[in-house]
């Protein structure tokens, strides 16, 4: 919460700064976190981020949790050469020391399902990434209409 208060005080920098804000838990660095704004009637939302393992042991990202969604899953959109897009569920992503996982539109994304109330663009949503062998890593995801 400290960084939020800090950025709020920096006029004009808010959106970019928040989109670029990093959340670190010693060995894990979460950056470029955002949720795509969707119409209020949408039942799902997609979240994006990069996660870097700066530690010296492998970690496995398993999923996520947030108060706004009944379920959050790691998904990948696979697009074949003939233009077929398919969603696949990822049961986990292992990050070796130095590895980075990129969740970005058209590829891996955090899929929030059973979203009771879709947040509006400009709001922030706390989402915690969960791991098989590491503490949760929580960050505020700004809701944006377009990719930052």
């Amino acid at each position: 919460m400290m960084y939020k208060a800090f950025f709020n005080g920096v006029a004009g920098a808010a959106l970019l700064a928040l989109a670029g804000a990093a959340s670190a838990d010693g060995d894990l660095v979460l950056e470029k976190a955002w949720l795509r704004a969707v119409p209020p009637v949408s039942p799902t939302m997609a979240g994006y981020f990069t996660l870097r393992n700066d530690g010296d042991r492998a970690v496995e990202l398993k999923g996520a949790k947030t108060d706004i969604a009944g379920m959050a899953m790691l998904h990948d959109t696979e697009t074949t050469d003939d233009g077929q897009a398919r969603m696949v569920h990822l049961s986990g992503i292992t990050l070796e020391p130095g590895d980075q996982a990129t969740f970005a539109p058209g590829g891996k994304h955090l899929m929030l399902m059973k979203v009771a109330e879709i947040p509006e663009a400009g709001e922030q949503v706390e989402i915690c990434l969960t791991f098989s062998d590491h503490d949760d890593l929580c960050a505020d995801f700004p809701v944006l209409r377009d990719a930052p």
């Binding site: 897009a85 899929m111 377009d146």
Partner: protein
């Protein structure tokens, strides 16, 4: 300039996109002009004196760079895909494509329960529309979003979903057979996965279609198309 007008070209994955011809100038092609950039060079006469070829080098370069702006190559008509159809719009009325004659149509398929590509594509198409609206062309362009999930994407649901993008998008739904027929006309493949489960989704083609004022398919784009490229293409058909 050259980089601008070819941006996104490498991502096109469709045979309907015009192949760029190389300049038939033989040894006269100046260094630094890639074969793909020199599109607008007319075929020189057979008696073209080789002595002059070297002098024309800089001119060729200029023409190649100017070629992006104008005159541009006309988009070819795709005769394999397309055709008229009637579906139900998000206000519950009958929508016939033929009624859009005189407008350029940007059309794509998707479903509103898709969180990643579909809203992203809608947002990008909406941006194209807003660019065109700013240029005063809004009433001659019509974005269409066709769902292949009529069970969940009813007219009522689309009516709440589509206007949010503020781009005059018409959401279209219909009976499953009707939608499948339209998809086949346009070469769109979709497959429901997780059938019977409450949370099913679709494997699907994600092309965006550019239709001219006569309703003919003129170009296909991948869903991560270049916004400026599509805006320019639409304007070339107005």
């Amino acid at each position: 300039m050259g980089a601008d007008c070819t941006a996104g070209e490498g991502k096109l994955r469709t045979p309907t996109v015009a192949k760029r011809r190389t300049a038939p100038l033989g040894g006269a092609r100046p260094a630094g002009v890639s074969s793909g950039a020199a599109v607008m060079i007319p075929e020189p006469p057979m008696t073209f004196p080789r002595a002059l070829a070297g002098r024309l080098g800089p001119l060729v370069l200029l023409l190649a760079l100017a070629g992006c702006a104008e005159p541009r190559e006309e988009l070819p008509v795709n005769t394999r895909l397309g055709g008229d159809f009637t579906l139900t719009d998000h206000n519950g009325g009958a929508f016939r494509l033929a009624d859009q004659r005189g407008r350029v149509v940007l059309m794509f398929f998707g479903y509103t329960h898709c969180p990643d590509i579909c809203p992203a594509t809608l947002a990008r198409v909406s941006q194209v529309y807003r660019n065109l609206r700013d240029a005063g062309d809004a009433d001659r362009v019509q974005p269409l979003f066709i769902t292949f999930d009529p069970a969940r994407d009813t007219p009522e649901h689309l009516r709440e979903y589509v206007p949010w993008f503020k781009a005059n998008v018409i959401g279209l739904t219909g009976g499953e057979a009707e939608i499948r027929a339209v998809a086949e006309q346009y070469g769109v493949v979709f497959l429901k996965s997780g059938e019977g489960e409450p949370e099913y989704d679709f494997t699907h083609s994600d092309y965006v279609y550019l239709l001219d004022q006569q309703g003919r398919v003129r170009k296909l784009y991948p869903s991560d198309f270049n916004i400026d490229e599509v805006t320019d293409d639409v304007q070339s058909l107005l």
